[in-house]
Assembly symmetry: C2
Homo-oligomer: 261 residues x 2
């Protein structure tokens, strides 16, 4: 049984302010909590229904567990229909790995607003073996519960780092390729893609800002079909990220295979 004060304390983690003050965030649902437990994130406590507890073995976890009834679970939850269990996880200090731009691709996002988009981008990064996402300070908080839900656990496997993107790019060696999506770029299929470097994506409605656009060396676009098709709006940014990263991996793998042959 947990106190009213404890419920209040947990509810503070619904807001970015509360998360920043405590360094903690909520993880909801059986699948996500199990992913959290097997990740390298710290777990502070777990509240859940008795039926969840009964399915869990491993004393470490059980020491952190407090039983609550469905009514209390709903009070703590950010979801309309809470799912048996909620854990309090500790944020990680995601220092940039400064070699990663030499050895792998990095996704950079500017002013991304929609939590669902961010979660989807985390899944894409995870699927395509990208371990690092760099965000502008005004990008939606990665510990927002909607981002975590949409990431389906990818949040535990991809490092996310908030920084000033212009300084970040300017401090990289000049040899690092900087890519970005622009409606007037050249076709991604005619662009020379690499297996390392930074790929920049912009805000949902405004795209990449002029200040950052100046720093992009390879501007590409995803061609619509037919290419002269004017009867379309645009792709969602998470669709653009998926198509782009898949094409980077396809091109560089094909080249590797050709070199082997």
């Amino acid at each position: 049984v947990i106190s009213k004060n404890k419920i209040k304390e947990l509810r503070l983690l619904h807001t970015k302010k509360g998360r920043e003050k405590t360094g903690c965030f909520l993880v909801e649902g059986d699948k996500m909590v199990k992913e959290l437990i097997s990740s390298d994130f710290g777990v502070r406590e777990i509240v859940g229904l008795t039926e969840w507890r009964e399915n869990i073995t491993g004393s470490d976890v059980i020491n952190l567990f407090s039983k609550v009834n469905p009514k209390v679970l709903k009070q703590i939850s950010t979801l309309k229909t809470p799912n048996k269990v909620i854990a309090v996880a500790q944020m990680k200090d995601n220092a940039m790995d400064n070699r990663s731009y030499k050895e792998n691709l990095i996704i950079a996002v500017e002013s991304l607003q929609d939590p669902g988009n961010f979660g989807t981008i985390l899944r894409i990064a995870n699927w395509f073996g990208i371990g690092q996402i760099v965000c502008s300070h005004d990008t939606v908080d990665v510990y927002n519960s909607k981002v975590i839900q949409a990431s389906m656990g990818a949040i535990f496997r991809v490092n996310v780092h908030y920084t000033d993107l212009a300084s970040f790019i300017q401090l990289l060696p000049k040899s690092v390729p900087i890519f970005g999506t622009f409606l007037n770029g050249q076709s991604i299929y005619a662009s020379e893609l690499t297996n390392h470097g930074v790929i920049l994506f912009g805000n949902e409605s405004k795209g990449i800002s002029d200040d950052l656009a100046e720093l992009v060396k390879c501007k590409f676009k995803i061609p619509s079909y037919p290419p002269a098709n004017k009867d379309m709006e645009s792709l969602n940014v998470s669709s653009a990220v998926g198509i782009t990263i898949a094409e980077f991996r396809r091109q560089t793998q094909t080249i590797q295979n050709e070199m082997k042959a």
Copy 2:
């Protein structure tokens, strides 16, 4: 000024039942209402703030307009923060164009549940020149306000048809290629893609059902990276749709270009 009964009537369109009974659906926000007006969908009425009305020219539209205050707009709206104007649009009877599978790709979706995913898929279809989406009966309603918002207007440019997918596929000529995404399919990059036929995508968590899987002639997957990467969950279905359709267009365009050369 509009009556309480009218407000109640408009609020009925928040539910699928209310929409089906009246054959109407709500379209919210300046951008989307303007897209509706210039589309071939019928418009029944428009309610909005005076400031919206002042920006509109064209008497047809103004005849349909009723002024409301922000409080009433909020009562009618499905959004937390309504955006100046809401229109009542008429559903279209989207009969299948039975030649489209010969001349173009068709996207088929089975039991898709998330409205945001459906809206994103409509945008992808629109971007890549696909005019037809066929859905199983249990797919989320295309006139759900969240689908409409996420589609960013693509809903006015792509036909959506609900049907029994198994019968739909079985009634097609045997020569029509039927593609589908499967975790154990062959790599999409090693598959022979065509510029026509049906591409099937499954439910967010369950994928394609066994019954429909039997009808798929070409089973492909989007390879993860590195290919042996086990440390990943899966792609969101809308990410899979984007990457897949982009690759269909890339392959068939490349072949066309090579034939020209």
